[in-house]
Amino acid sequence: MAKLDNQTVLRHLQNRFADHIKQVSEPYGLLTVEADTTHILEVLEFLKTDENLQFGYLTDITAVHYPDLDKEFAVVYHVHSLVNNVRIRVKVFLDGNYPAIPTATVLWNGANWMERETYDFFGIQFVGHPDLRRILNVDDMEVFPMRKEYPLEDPNKVDKKDYFFGR
């Protein structure tokens, strides 16, 4: 199986998008790049359709909340090229006030529920999504529970506070 290496993938991406691909890293051998909101759909489409890359398989979409950053939310795409047996992780950081990003359902049908799940837990608006409703939580829930400001348990409980354990 022909295996693309990360440097080749990165070169293709940078040739096409120049400055719009930022923050390149390779944690545990998985190429991770950062794109911006306006170009994310083009980046994903390029990854999917370029004949050298062929990242045709969407593994996962999820989000991460970083309340301390200027751009609070990161949407993370894991895309896989089954032909070349290589993966790539694409991150997009979003503003905390109105986190919105174009939907990837135009490229992959499978993105539908992944984006609904991400919306359900983080409140990220996937613009153009055909059916952006809650999926695992109840429909009349008002908060987005995976955001860091929502504690797991009753916040008034003190018996599990870290400082009691010297942390």
């Binding site: 944690p27 545990y28 593994t59 996962d60 991460v64 049908n109 539908n112």
Partner: protein
């Protein structure tokens, strides 16, 4: 596989749109219904017996595992993974351990890796037994299910011997196993490898060329590879469409690259192909277990974990009698151990697809963020769209053959 089959089905009734009743009614299939094998609700618009459209409602047993995981130390997340796909918990356990080991750069001794392979393949067989047995029940053949269920019971006995639990196993620790497989466990695994083939053979003889079974399953819910890939399908149901994607081969973990096994694929992606793919995978799993047993023989005895005292929770008897073990036990339990600030994605071939763990660590005792890429969740989203136009009875066996497990669907 089923090309030759379709020739022997001249009498299959054909339903055309001319049969339409011109009167739709709404049918709630689920949330609890004996035929759905779990908590699945589908609100179907039905025209006679033909489904016109459907909407899946999921989340009935959502337990917020990702949120809980952000507040638990790494070793306490293993029991959460048990409850994802509870038909093959050991695969989830091992996948989670391997994710953390990847984060911590722990290399396991070969013997431990082979032990893990045995446990994972036993779990895969147990899972496929359920799925294929239940598929038989849903098509009206109860006996095959009972024959193989006895063998699943035997696999659970092996798990019991290894870790003490049967269904939600919590097998192993970060860095290896909590104890060595004892002689009984090895003896039982060897016995299983001997006694399972005739049972599986009998099971296949009941189904594979059974005309009633073929008429019920062949050409039902056929999916082409492009659609399957676009819906991010993985596992046996993707391979039934003809795509040979198997994580064990594409990105080998736990020394799978040393094993000689085939990846069965289908041609049409219908229910019958999925059944055959799962059956053949059980044969391959048996091959892998046999090879793993041979390989373990050649490794030095008594090694069941890596030598990483700062991450491996020591056995209890050592904690009470040994200074170092006591210190490390205390440090691990109290979360005094530093982990690298990094992110890692690790996936294993679960019983019904690519089970991925996306772990972000901020250096603390629990993950900053943990996301489970759950194959059932992703595979199931095509169920409602693909059901439209299907007969109700076909939709039922389609659900059985997708092998969606409610715990994994809802996390």
């Amino acid at each position: 596989m089923s090309d030759s089959i379709s020739k022997i089905l001249p009498n299959k009734p054909v339903y055309n749109d001319t049969d339409a009743q011109d009167e739709l009614f709404t049918l709630n299939l689920g949330p609890t219904h004996p035929a759905t094998h779990g908590v699945f609700q589908n609100v179907l618009q039905v025209d006679g017996e033909r489904i016109v459209s459907g909407v899946s409602t999921i989340g009935y047993i959502h337990r917020a595992f990702e949120k809980i995981a952000e507040h638990r130390p790494y070793y306490q997340i293993t029991p959460l993974t048990d409850r994802l796909n509870y038909c093959s918990s050991p695969i989830n356990n091992m996948g989670w351990h391997m994710t953390v080991e990847k984060l911590l750069n722990i290399e396991l001794p070969k013997r431990v890796q082979y032990m893990r392979v045995i446990v994972m393949e036993l779990a895969r067989i147990a899972d496929h037994i359920i799925c294929n047995g239940i598929l038989g029940v849903d098509t009206g053949a109860f006996s095959g299910f009972l024959y193989v269920m006895q063998e699943r019971e035997f696999i659970y006995e092996i798990f019991e011997e290894i870790c003490g639990a049967r269904l939600t196993t919590n097998i192993g620790r970060i860095g290896g196993f909590e104890r060595d497989f004892n002689e009984t466990a090895f003896a039982k695994i060897r016995e299983f490898v001997k006694r399972f083939p005739p049972v599986l053979k009998e099971f296949e003889e009941l189904f594979n060329r059974n005309r009633i079974f073929i008429e019920r399953t062949a050409n039902v819910a056929a999916v082409d590879p492009e659609t399957a890939l676009s819906y991010s399908w993985s596992g046996p149901i993707l391979r039934a469409t003809g795509v040979d994607y198997d994580v064990r081969v594409n990105e080998p973990y736990s020394s799978y690259e040393e094993f000689d096994f085939d990846v069965p694929v289908g041609t049409k992606g219908d229910v019958y192909d999925r059944f055959l793919v799962r059956n053949n995978e059980m044969w391959e799993s048996l091959k892998i277990i046999e090879q793993a047993l041979e390989k373990i023989e050649k490794e030095p005895k008594g090694i069941f974990h890596a030598d990483v005292p700062e991450f491996y929770l020591p056995p209890k008897e050592q904690v009470y009698n040994n200074m170092e073990a006591l210190i490390y036990h205390f440090k691990i339990v109290m979360g005094e151990i530093d982990t690298p600030k990094n992110e890692v994605y690790h996936c294993v071939e679960g019983a019904n697809g690519e089970l991925g763990f996306y772990l972000i660590s901020d250096g603390g005792r629990s993950p900053y963020r943990l996301h489970f890429r759950r194959p059932s969740f992703i595979n199931y989203q095509m169920y409602a769209p693909m059901s439209s136009g299907m007969l109700l009875s076909d939709a039922i066996i389609n659900m059985s053959s997708l092998n969606v497990i409610a715990g994994e669907l809802d996390a």
